[in-house]
């Protein structure tokens, strides 16, 4: 099964007493806040869940794997995420440890 934005909105509507439309809007706003911070180059850490980090990558020489043509890949920024130790432990509980 896959958890989607709609599922999260439904959970908020059911558990916190919001209309479905309001809950959807709240989820959108929450995601927009996180995205805006990351676009701004800021890290976002949610204790017990994980941490998103924006990393700078230098420009480098690459190759088009299909044509073998050499090209310069520009410097760019990427988002990485690292699980919190608490979450790691939780996903491993089903292994019986």
């Amino acid at each position: 099964m896959t958890l989607t934005k709609a599922d999260i909105a439904k959970k908020i509507a059911d558990d916190c007493g919001f209309m479905k439309g309001e809950a959807t809007e709240i989820v959108e706003k929450l995601l927009d806040i996180i995205k805006a911070r990351l676009i701004n180059g800021e890290d976002v850490m949610i204790s017990g869940f994980g941490k998103w980090t924006v990393k700078g990558k230098h420009s480098r020489r690459g190759r088009n794997p299909q044509t073998g043509e050499e090209l310069i890949l520009d410097a760019r920024r990427v988002v990485t995420w690292k699980y919190s130790p608490v979450l790691k432990k939780a996903v491993n509980t089903s292994l019986g440890k």
Partner: protein, 94 residues
């Protein structure tokens, strides 16, 4: 930004009390964590997806001493950045 900052920012953006905002932020991440614990994927369009990868047990080595170590099977959660976020972060860096 940490969770408390997020709670404050959401309260302001969505016109909620701090308490309500905290309840929602906790619920969102608890719901996501539970999905991963059950082995489900999370897919949030424009943001990213999360999934748990399973690794089998293997014999590893301590690279310093060369001693053999039995590594037990484990599961680890991963995040893959969504297209919209990836492009926007990339552009902002130029």
């Amino acid at each position: 930004m940490n969770k408390s900052d997020l709670i404050v920012a959401l309260a302001k953006e969505a016109d909620l009390t701090q308490r309500k905002s905290e309840e929602i932020v906790n619920l969102v991440f608890d719901t996501m964590a539970s999905a991963l614990v059950s082995g489900d994927r999370i897919e949030i369009r424009g943001f990213g997806s999360l999934m748990v990868k399973k690794y089998g047990a293997y014999t590893g080595r301590n690279p310093k001493s060369g001693t053999r170590i039995e590594v037990e099977e484990k599961k680890l959660p991963f995040f893959k950045t969504g297209k919209e976020l990836r492009e926007r972060v990339q552009q902002a860096g130029r």
